[in-house]
């Protein structure tokens, strides 16, 4: 079974190198030593049968010279080697050598060389052949849409990618069950979602969202046919999208525990900051929750830095950077001196 591999990312080339390494391990090493021990076991030949047998001479076979010798230098190579086939020395007029040999020896020539037959050759895909073939099928090609001249433009106008696999067999059936699998992926940023909808969408799709690449990927293999799977992934995308725009009654019951991320304005940290600020200024403290939330902290020096530091500490988790940031923000806020380098 052979699989056509084509992928838009250049990373897959790595596979090919691995394969080459494998070939080298498989390759037969040239025979370096040949023990010549011609001592036969002597047989008593009473009837002198051997002599009679030896008389039978092998029939001479006249082999014609390689057709590579007769080829003119200006021939059209595409006519000689029109399609993929195993290497054959008599039809290839090139002095090719291949094989693994110890250092200092020349690799074996093209005749009777299994190494050359093992590897797939691309003799049928010479640049002129590719050119003529492209010219030949050009009449079935339509023009590329003019405005789709860059990857960005393509992504903008066709944000949805559907990925399927085709398989090519040498067997009675041309079907492959793997061909039914359909991947649909779309960048989250291209979807028209507001804050609430985005939050809900992410909750709906769960693992299907990859934060690093911003792709939402739907994979379906539950239906027996590709068409059905394609319909199904389209349905999933549509359903999730529209559902995420709906606001149900129970969504108002969302409390701080349900929050998907830390919002500083809603939390106790702001409350204490505001309280501390008011206390420093000897003002009265009797604010409602909403007033706390909407309190403008721009009046407090270095408060915005502190807010960011706390948010990142809570959202991104504790690590050296966030903790350090938090520390320096607090120092700034409270007007303490910078930590000295020698101390750390």
């Amino acid at each position: 079974m052979s699989v056509f591999i084509k992928y838009n990312k250049p990373g897959s080339i790595g596979n090919i190198f691995n394969v080459q390494v494998l070939w080298r391990f498989n390759s037969t090493t040239a025979e370096t030593m040949r023990k010549e021990e011609d001592e036969e076991f002597r047989v008593l030949d009473i009837m002198k049968k051997r002599d009679r047998q030896q008389k039978r001479t092998a029939r001479k076979i006249n082999i014609q010279p390689d057709r590579a010798d007769r080829m003119p230098t200006d021939q059209n190579w595409g006519n000689v080697w029109p399609g993929p086939k195993t290497f054959h020395p008599s039809s290839v007029p090139l002095p090719i050598r291949q094989g693994y040999v110890p250092k200092g020896q020349a690799p074996p020539g093209k005749k009777a060389n299994a190494e050359l037959m093992k590897i797939p050759n691309f003799l049928h895909l010479t640049p002129p052949a590719i050119k003529t073939q492209c010219e030949a099928i050009k009449k079935y090609c339509t023009e590329w849409p003019k405005l789709l001249n860059s990857e960005d433009a393509i992504e903008k106008h066709y944000p949805v990618e559907v990925i399927t696999s085709d398989y090519c067999h040498a067997s009675p059936t041309i079907r492959n069950p793997l061909a039914r699998i359909v991947n649909l992926r779309v960048k989250l940023s291209t979807l028209n979602l507001d804050k609430h909808a985005k939050d809900k969408f992410l909750r709906l799709v769960g693992d299907c969202y990859d934060e690093k690449t911003d792709f939402v990927t739907f994979v379906s293999d539950r239906c027996p046919m590709r068409k059905q799977n394609l319909d199904y992934v389209n349905y999933l995308l549509t359903a999730c999208y529209h559902e995420s725009w709906n606001v149900e009654d129970w969504e108002k019951e969302k409390c701080e525990d349900d929050m998907e991320y830390y919002i500083w304005d809603n939390n106790a940290s702001k409350k204490s900051l505001v309280n501390w600020h008011l206390r420093c200024n000897n003002q009265e403290i009797n604010l409602t929750d909403d007033e706390y939330k909407n309190y403008d902290i721009s009046g407090i020096s270095n408060a915005s830095g502190y807010k960011e530091a706390v948010s990142s500490l809570m959202n991104d988790g504790e690590n050296e950077d966030t903790v350090k940031n938090y520390g320096s923000a607090v120092r700034k806020l409270l007007g303490l001196p910078e930590r000295k380098l020698t101390q750390c």
Binding site: V3, F4, I5, K6, Y7, N8, N15, I63, Q64, D66, R67, R70, N76, G78, N79, V80, S90, Q133, A136, I137, K139, Y140, C141, T142, E143, P145, K146, L147, Y158, P159, V160, E161, V162, I163, T164, S165, D166, Y167, S171, P172, T173, I174, R175, L178, N183, K200, R203, L204, G206, D207, T217, V219, R222, N234, L236, L237, T238, A239, C240, Y241
Partner: protein
């Protein structure tokens, strides 16, 4: 609540698995989907630079055909049905045939196994052993051609479905079998009977060679169609026809066409009359087939033409308009009636008439015209130029009739024998090579005749370089020349003075399997001798090698014959050919050259009467004797002179004198005086003695007995004096 909801939709995404699939991705279709992935933008909208343009329609194999059209012929390669390997590329006609047919025999054997053991190929691979197998073909999609064929015998239980299957697949014998099993005429509906009748009439109740066996069809050398009544009188078709009541128009059409196709002309016409009297309409193709066999009804050209015209008139009465088939069957009939000015005029009239109603003659019509006008011994009529002018204008030649394949071979024959015009032949070949026209070449037999004509006309009338080019492209992969063509080629090469190619011609003869044809080899040797003088030294050496090889080949063939490995007796080269070999091989100045060995072998053969006849040019042998003596091979010289004297050639006298003078380093006068006195001779060296004896032999017209003894003494002396 939210988390619950999300699990309801249940996306099964396993990260690891997904990753693996990504790496296997084959192609990425960016679907034309909108954000929702539901609507595809209609491509009918004007080109906005974003939506894809309208798809260009193409059939399922169009791309493959376009790609295949980029591949041209490769003159160095054999046909692709053979293995591309020096051991397996066939170079003679016999091998081409046997290799291709062997491969086909293998395919046939495989098909036989498949049909006989159909149960082995109809199981699911994953059925566990012991479990009852489910009948199921692994193939998907199901391809009828690869599926086992049903076998019908006396025990088979058949239904109407089987009968329909056999009818649809044109399995004539199976259809007859199933027909019998079903219970004969009465068990069938009228519709099936009709179809069965049509099948029987088309094939005359004979099983056709299946389309599957391409090679067999290609190599089946069909001899010219015999124009004899092969229709099975009172056969199954007739009985079915009589059983049909009422007889429909279709039934009449089928049986009349069948009879006409297999030359049961009289009955066909009787039935046609009957149908017309009953007022049953007949089709155009019925009339076409009637026209093509109208000549069987009448004798004499005028009567036949009358009958033809009546038929055409009847056609008009029926309100049928003629088609191309009508034209070609008219011409077929006319061309079958012999030649002569009157028929030619009628044919031209017919063509003109059809042209006036807009029917251009097809290839078979042109074929019949060529048959009619270009008779072997007739006057030279050049209608081919006009025909080619017409055909070259057409975009592609569509095969319509089986006789279409006769056109190119006949036209090339006309170019070669009748018109002897190379430029026409080249035009014709160009037409054949255009587009898909090569399929009109017919079969292997026709193809080889076509090339035989082409190469012959090219050898006779084309410039030398062009002929060579043609030979290089065609031989041996496309065409292997027959002996007669090979002779033409040798003649042409001789006239062109191409020594190197002549030397190659010998190896070609061996490869093509013509090396046993003495006439051809002798012709080649003559050509060698005629061209030898003005060749370069290198080529001279090659020719000498080839000549020596010819001798060796003859010896090997004889050895084989002795061992009874050859079926037909080996013909021996004539004495003239041997002399040619001797002349060629002796043209060396080096004493140790291999050529001398060949010369002595050839002389041995001459002397032991192993070559037919006597040499045409004995003076050559005299020269050789002298040369041999000069170089220092007196044995050979003696043998040559001895042979001359044995045969009683006059040249023997002068030759022996000249040779002796060289041997003894005396002037010819001295030698002559020396020879007068026989008593002196005993002092001579044995080889010189032999020469001297030869001299006397000729002088005295010695008896056969003496000559015999001289040969024996010769052979004695030879063994002892090789080193002198």
């Amino acid at each position: 609540m939210i988390s619950e909801h999300s699990t309801n939709i249940a996306f099964r995404t396993k990260r690891g698995e997904e990753k693996r699939q990504w790496s296997r991705l084959v192609h990425i279709c960016r679907t034309m989907a909108t954000l929702e992935g539901q609507k595809v933008p209609q491509s009918s909208s004007a080109s906005d630079g974003i939506s894809p343009p309208q798809r260009i329609h193409r059939g399922p194999t169009d791309i493959l055909q376009a790609l295949a059209a980029t591949v041209g012929p490769d003159p160095t390669a054999a046909h692709y049905k053979y293995h591309d390997d020096p051991y397996l590329i066939p170079l003679s006609n016999f091998r081409k045939r046997s290799y291709a047919l062997s491969a086909e025999a293998g395919r046939k054997a495989a098909a036989w196994v498949r049909d006989e053991h159909a149960d082995l190929f109809s199981m699911r691979e994953w059925d566990p052993p012991g479990k009852k197998k489910t009948p199921y073909l692994n193939a998907d999609p199901h391809i009828d051609a690869f599926a086992p064929k049903p076998i019908y015998n006396d025990e088979s239980k058949v239904t109407e479905e089987d009968f329909k299957y056999t009818l649809n697949n044109a399995l004539v014998e199976d259809a007859i079998k199933v027909f019998e099993l079903l219970g004969g005429v009465n068990a069938l509906s009228e519709e099936l009977k009709m179809e069965f009748l049509q099948l029987l009439c088309f094939y005359n109740e004979k099983e056709p060679l299946a389309m599957e066996w391409l090679e067999e069809r290609w190599f089946a050398a069909k001899t010219r169609d015999r124009h004899s009544a092969t229709w099975r009188l009172g056969g199954l078709a007739d009985s079915i026809f009589t059983s049909m009541e009422p007889k429909s128009s279709e039934a009449y059409c089928a049986i009349i066409q069948g009879m006409a196709k297999y030359y049961q002309a009289e009955r066909a016409h009787l039935l046609a009359q009957e149908a017309m009297e009953k007022g049953i309409p007949l089709s155009t193709s019925v009339f076409n087939s009637l026209i093509s066999c109208v000549g069987f009804l009448k004798e004499g050209t005028t009567l036949r033409i009358e009958a033809l015209k009546t038929l055409l008139a009847q056609m008009k009465e029926q309100g049928l308009s003629p088609d191309q088939g009508t034209l070609s069957s008219c011409l077929k009939s006319i061309s079958a009636w012999g030649g002569g000015n009157m028929l030619q005029q009628v044919a031209l009239q017919v063509v003109a008439e059809f042209k006036s109603i807009g029917l251009q003659p097809g290839l078979s019509a042109y074929y019949y015209l060529l048959c009619l006008f270009c008779k072997e011994r007739g006057p030279r009529v050049d209608i081919l130029t006009t025909i080619l002018n017409d055909l070259e204008k057409r975009e592609n030649l569509v095969p319509q009739d089986a006789t279409d394949t006769n056109f190119f071979i006949t036209a090339m024959g006309v170019c070669s024998d009748h018109l002897q015009d190379i430029s026409l032949a080249e035009r014709l070949h160009k037409l054949l090579m255009k587009g898909d026209n090569y399929r009109l070449v017919g079969d292997a037999y026709k193809e080889s005749i076509y090339y035989r004509h082409y190469i012959t006309v090219s050898c006779r009338h084309a410039p030398f370089e062009k002929t060579l080019e043609l030979l290089d492209t065609l031989i041996p992969n496309v065409y292997v020349p027959e002996p007669s063509v090979m002779e033409e080629i040798i003649k042409r090469l001789e006239a062109g003075g191409a020594g190197e190619r002549l030397a190659q011609a010998w190896s070609q003869l061996v490869v093509f399997g013509h090396a046993n044809r003495v006439r051809l080899v002798e012709r080649l040797l003559d050509a060698f001798c005629n061209c030898y003088q003005y060749q370069d030294d290198e080529i001279k050496a090659k020719i000498r090698l080839a000549a020596g090889d010819i001798l060796k080949f003859g010896q090997m063939a004889e050895e084989k014959e002795e061992k009874n490995e050859m079926r037909s007796p080996v013909q021996k080269l004539s004495a003239t050919a041997m002399t040619n070999i001797i002349e060629l091989c002796s043209d060396v100045t080096d004493k140790a050259d291999e050529g001398w060995e060949k010369v002595s072998q050839a002389l041995d053969r001459l002397r032991s009467q192993q070559a037919a006849g006597v040499p045409a040019r004995p003076q050559v042998l005299a020269q050789v004797a002298q040369r041999a003596a000069t170089v220092g091979r007196p044995t050979i010289a003696a043998a040559a002179v001895g042979y001359l004297s044995e045969c009683g050639f006059e040249e023997a006298t002068s030759a022996s004198v000249a040779t002796l003078s060289v041997m003894l380093n005396r002037s010819e006068e001295e030698v002559k005086t020396l020879l007068q006195d026989r008593s002196n001779l005993s002092a001579l060296h044995p080889t010189a003695l032999a020469v001297a004896e030869a001299y006397h032999e000729v002088k005295s017209g010695a008896s056969l007995h003496q000559s015999d003894s001289s040969t024996s003494s010769e052979s004695d002396s030879e063994s002892s004096d090789d080193d002198c």
